[in-house]
């Protein structure tokens, strides 16, 4: 049985393959962004970053002309502290749900973030303001309010499993599976949906939009997988989760990387990670030294849904 448990993940994969000194690259999204630029990995455009508690005037100056942006804590975890603004209503700002946010609310959010409210261990944090991604409309029918992102697990440079996280009405527009979002397993070979799960139960259609998942096909799939695989060189982490979104014009963008990716991906795919990880571990050194393109080809063949018992 190849299902990976939390304890096995922590001891056998995270502790063994992820060096502690490389964590800052993924734990701090500003670092991730800089590293991504160095390695030529596309990511959402950074508008501004506040290293220290910013003055009201400076923040106002910056967000005044903007219509759409995202405020993120650099060291937030689990999607906490992300404030998405999709439009304006006079002086006020609009969230994707339509809720109105005042400039003061945004200032407070930034101040809280600086104080470390959303960071691990409550350490003082940095705030980044990113451009809102112009999402590819292919997923519009598979998502309610929020925007789906694709999580790819990369082990020693080989993509081993992928899933699409679709927000639902139940999940309040958030892409967290335990809050009721739908996890859609994506076949590594084709980019097509292979399995979908909401709250641990198998589903075939999106609960809000009624769209059947078996028609779902991620465009430019190979590019996306290649991007995920190249994160291995960028971070140096052996066991890695990459969160990727699709931009209408720019294609796949790296949203963030995670050194402790969760295990829900197994449920979404209906397949355990254990067998695939052990397969990679059994490869010899020569195969491990392949370049990105070769690794992607190998993974797409080896871990195809048709190939998995």
């Amino acid at each position: 049985m190849g299902v990976l448990g939390m304890n096995a993940r922590n001891v056998n994969y995270i502790a063994r393959y992820n060096d502690r000194d490389k964590y800052p690259i993924v734990d701090d999204k500003l670092n991730t962004k800089r590293a991504a630029r160095r390695y030529g990995i596309p990511s959402p455009e950074l508008i501004a970053a506040f290293e220290t508690q910013a003055s009201r005037r400076r923040v106002m100056e910056l967000i005044e002309p903007l219509w759409q942006f995202v405020v993120k804590p650099a060291r937030g975890s689990g999607g906490k502290g992300i404030l998405v603004i999709v439009g304006r209503d006079g002086d006020n700002y609009l969230k994707p749900s339509g809720a109105v946010v005042t400039a003061d609310d945004i200032l407070r959010h930034i101040s809280n973030t600086h104080s470390g409210l959303y960071s691990l261990g409550g350490k003082p944090d940095r705030v980044m303001i990113e451009a809102l991604v112009d999402f590819d409309p292919v997923f519009d029918n598979y998502s309610f309010e929020g925007v789906p992102d694709i999580r790819v697990i990369v082990f020693r440079g080989f993509p081993v499993m992928a899933m699409l996280r679709c927000s639902t009405h139940a999940s309040d527009g958030k892409a967290n599976l335990h809050q009721g979002a739908v996890g859609v397993g994506i076949d590594l070979a084709t980019g097509k949906s292979s399995h979908a799960v909401q709250r641990g139960l198998r589903v075939h259609r999106h609960p809000d939009t009624e769209m059947p998942f078996d028609k779902l096909q991620v465009p430019g799939w190979r590019d996306l997988v290649r991007l995920a695989a190249s994160c291995y060189e960028m971070t140096g982490l052996g066991y890695l989760g990459c969160d990727i979104v699709l931009d209408r014009k720019r294609g796949p963008l790296l949203l963030e990387a995670n050194a402790r990716p969760g295990l829900a991906i197994q449920v979404a795919n209906g397949v355990g990670l254990g067998g695939r990880l052990r397969h990679i571990e059994s490869l010899d050194l020569e195969q491990l030294e392949k370049n990105v393109e070769e690794r992607v080809t190998y993974s797409m063949h080896q871990f195809a849904a048709s190939n998995t018992p």
């Binding site: 299902v3 448990g5 304890n7 001891v11 056998n12 809280n112 198998r202 209906g270």
Partner: protein, 510 residues
């Protein structure tokens, strides 16, 4: 070596060390493995009384010899107005009280606590003289008595094979009131005791012998006179006989005071001197007995341990030593069950607070403070405060709440709620802050899950930590922490599934 192998080796070493020290403390130092073990400690008091004649007075009392199966835990002397010292005199210790002038009745006290341990009572060999001083049975002695004694010796010798059986035979004869010889002897030696007569007869038979003075340890005995036993040299070793039964061996419960024949008490400058004994038994916790007996020998394991701290610090340590046990509970529940808690070790701190407050009081106070705190926190979140200031505000609120709870409950007569002060305030404030964030981000359901998880872990930890066995072991055998550490190391290597994951992944298994 792989880290995994290192962990197992380290854990095994730690466990061995911890278990070894524990066994040593139990076996060699007598620390009880189970709580509630009591040992009997006998308090023996010797009271010396005499009437002072007005001049200088000196009283010397022979002190008890070392006895293998009796451990002296404590001794004390009391005598107001007397100079006191202990002198060593020919293999014996004597307590000497002295005073320039004393008149009228005088009382001197010597008290000691002894604890009976298993083992042979007397050590061999004893370097007492084996010379026999033939009693002078001359003209003054009646011919009949001498004949009777010789007849007793001859009969006993006939019916015995060695010194031991001879002594038994002799003592039986001396105890038999139908025996004509015996009656004749006792008729002559009217004021002599059985042991005195037996010593005389043994001397005639050319067997080295002396008396042993001591006491039978029986509860609540007062004004006891010392009892005598007979010790006989059989050519190789000294054998003790109980004179009345004639059986060899020191009787159980017999505390040997003096071995060999000198006087028990010497008083100069006084008359009517006598020494009486009283015996009381106390049931003392076994641990205290071990502590008393080891403190004398300066056992390093005990001397360099928390027992050498003042009592107040010891009681703090009693609580601190329970923390690892609480941590173990958290580890087990998180690694094997997968419970979600708010703050990893926050439940342990809660459990410690529960120990002080009692469970029900603690739970209700905690929930009350949490609910009130969350309510205040929701209002504060609308005031656009900086995070640190806001948490500080929550801390102040928590303190005010604690004060209010104490005062109100005291006025209402619920004194238990006064223990509210045992709750760690800062932790409470942070818990409230985190919970309110969880509420905002993940909804009230998640708050209930996390708070419930924390409380469940806290209650389980409290339950384990207040177990009397756990309390006893952590405080009396702190070295068991090494075993616990080894166990935690091994648990840290567990890569199997958590209980919660069996639910979570049940679809995948099929």
């Amino acid at each position: 070596m792989s880290p995994r192998a290192q962990v197992y080796i380290l854990a095994a070493l730690l466990a061995l060390m911890g278990a070894g020290l524990t066994i040593y403390k139990n076996r060699a130092l007598g620390f009880p493995l189970l709580p509630g073990e009591y040992r009997t400690v006998w308090t023996i008091e010797a009271k010396v009384r005499f009437i002072g004649e007005g001049g200088p007075v000196k009283a010397a009392l022979t002190l008890p010899r070392e006895q293998r199966n009796m451990e002296v835990l404590n001794e004390s002397f009391s005598s107001s107005g007397y100079g006191f010292n202990v002198i060593r005199d020919n293999d014996e210790y004597r307590a000497v009280w002295a005073r320039r002038s004393a008149s009228g009745p005088q009382s001197l006290f010597y008290q000691l606590d002894v604890h009976q341990t298993p083992g042979a009572p007397l050590e061999q060999p004893l370097d007492l003289s084996t010379k026999v001083k033939k009693p002078f049975l001359g003209a003054r002695e009646q011919e009949a008595v001498r004949m009777a004694i010789n007849s007793l010796v001859d009969t006993a010798r006939e019916r015995s094979s060695d010194t031991r059986s001879f002594t038994t035979q002799l003592l039986t004869a001396l105890g038999d009131t139908r025996n004509q010889d015996r009656n004749l002897i006792f008729g002559y030696y009217k004021d002599r005791s059985l042991v005195d007569v037996a010593l005389t007869v043994l001397a005639v038979a050319d067997i080295p012998a002396h008396r042993i003075r001591g006491l039978y340890l029986e509860d609540d005995r007062r004004r006891l006179d010392p009892e005598d036993l007979l010790e006989v040299y059989d050519g190789e070793r000294w054998v003790v006989f109980e004179p009345r039964s004639g059986s060899p061996g020191v009787p159980k419960n017999f505390f040997i005071w003096q071995r060999g024949g000198k006087s028990l008490l010497d008083v100069e400058g006084g008359r009517n001197s006598q020494v009486t004994f009283s015996v009381i038994s106390n049931d003392v916790p076994a641990r205290d007995v071990s502590m008393m007996s080891t403190s004398k020998e300066k056992e390093a394991l005990v001397d360099f341990s928390i027992y050498s701290l003042p009592i107040e610090q010891q009681s703090i340590f009693k609580l601190i030593l329970l923390v690892p046990v609480g941590a173990l509970v958290v580890v087990l529940l998180r690694v094997f069950v997968g419970l979600r808690t708010s703050g990893t070790f926050m439940p342990v701190l809660l459990a410690i607070a529960f120990i002080e407050t009692r469970l029900i009081t603690g739970l209700s106070i905690f929930i009350l403070i949490l609910v009130l705190g969350l309510w205040v926190r929701f209002y504060l979140s609308r005031l656009n405060l900086l995070l640190v200031a806001r948490i500080a505000a929550v801390v102040v609120t928590v303190v005010i709440l604690m004060g209010a709870i104490s005062v109100v409950s005291f006025k209402l007569g619920i004194e238990q709620a006064l223990t509210v002060t045992f709750f760690p305030m800062i932790i409470l404030a942070w818990t409230i802050e985190r919970m309110s964030i969880v509420w905002e981000e993940d909804g009230p359901y998640e708050v209930v899950v996390q708070a419930g998880g924390s409380l469940l872990v806290a209650v389980l930890a409290w339950w384990v930590m207040t177990n009397r066995y756990v309390e006893h072991w952590t405080f009396n055998f702190p070295e068991l922490l090494l075993v616990l550490l080894g166990f935690i190391l091994i648990v840290g290597n567990y890569t199997g599934y958590r209980l919660g994951e069996l639910m979570r992944f049940r679809q995948l298994v099929r």
